[in-house]
């Protein structure tokens, strides 16, 4: 989170959990015209396990339910790169990534 704040050139305190949540829930045109969002695979509640398109379990995104989450910077970058491209049709900015983690981190 601090890394993304630094990349975005803002203080960690300037990251916004509410913007992070909005990003998570925002819907975008997906395959076949159906709306898709992060929640499509990760479920509406990030403390729950999700499911990939071919039915494989995805461990919860929220560190409260999955302490390993966001502990491996390369892995975090890999999945932001893939999933932002899939869902938003573009890469996410450092600010967006920071906001996203700020939201997930404060979920109890």
């Amino acid at each position: 989170m601090a890394r993304y704040a630094q990349q975005a050139g803002v203080a960690v305190s300037a990251l916004s959990p509410s913007r992070g949540e909005a990003l998570y829930r925002s819907e975008h045109p997906g395959r076949g015209g159906a709306a898709q969002s992060c929640a499509s695979c990760h479920t509406a509640n990030p403390k729950q396990a999700g499911q990939t398109r071919v039915g494989k379990r995805i461990e919860p995104l929220a560190p409260a339910a999955n302490p390993e989450r966001f502990t491996d910077a390369a892995k975090v970058e890999k999945w932001f790169r893939r999933n932002c491209t899939d869902v938003l049709q573009r890469e996410c900015s450092a600010q967006e990534k920071g906001d996203f983690i700020a939201w997930l981190n404060q979920i109890k």
């Binding site: 990939t52 039915g55 494989k56 461990e59 999955n66 890999k78 790169r81 899939d86």
Partner: protein
């Protein structure tokens, strides 16, 4: 991420078994539990397991020829509609492993079976498109493939309950309702 730790434990166990099996004069093919119909070679490769199996079963390299794997690994940024891109070193590492153990590598009987039914210039991108797969699954009712409990033909484990352990024996199959 306990799941990952468990996975690593399983991998370590499988790896040990595979190493033992490989050390026997078995023509380079590691057999699993001795089941007669169990032809999927038991292989271990850290990046293959970690990367491919984070979204789907780590499909056996023996199920597609080398040219197919090159196509798959060359198009990971649009992998069946999803971005599955990898860093170049990991990508090359996994491709080497897939090529070494591919259906046409001559290293395993499973691959020989797949190749028996493969046209000379065929390089299918999907295992489900191979004539071997189609024939093996010709008793499965068409509607079963799209049931919510199955999702798609890519979800081996929906019916092959021990697919994650590399076991595809016919008696383990249960098609969900």
């Amino acid at each position: 991420m306990n799941y990952l730790l468990r996975g690593i434990g399983v991998l370590a166990a499988v790896g040990t078994v595979s190493l033992l099996a490989f050390s026997l004069p078995s023509g380079g093919e590691a057999r699993g539990d001795g089941g007669g119909g169990d032809l999927i070679p038991r292989l271990t490769h850290t990046a293959w397991q970690q990367e491919c199996a984070s979204c789907h079963l780590a499909y056996s390299p023996a199920l597609l020829p080398r040219a197919s794997w090159r196509r798959v690994m060359g198009g990971l940024d649009r992998h069946f509609g999803e971005n599955a891109s990898l860093d170049p070193a990991t990508q090359a590492d996994i491709l080497r492993f897939l090529e070494t153990n591919a259906a046409d590598s001559g290293r395993n009987r499973m691959g020989d079976k797949v190749m028996q039914r493969m046209g000379a210039n065929e390089t299918p991108l999907r295992i489900t498109e191979t004539r071997w797969f189609v024939r093996e699954h010709d008793e499965v009712p068409r509607a079963a493939w799209t049931r919510k409990s199955v999702g798609s033909a890519a979800n081996c484990a929906a019916c092959h309950r021990q697919a994650e352990q590399g076991k595809f024996d016919e008696h383990d199959i249960r098609i969900p309702k």
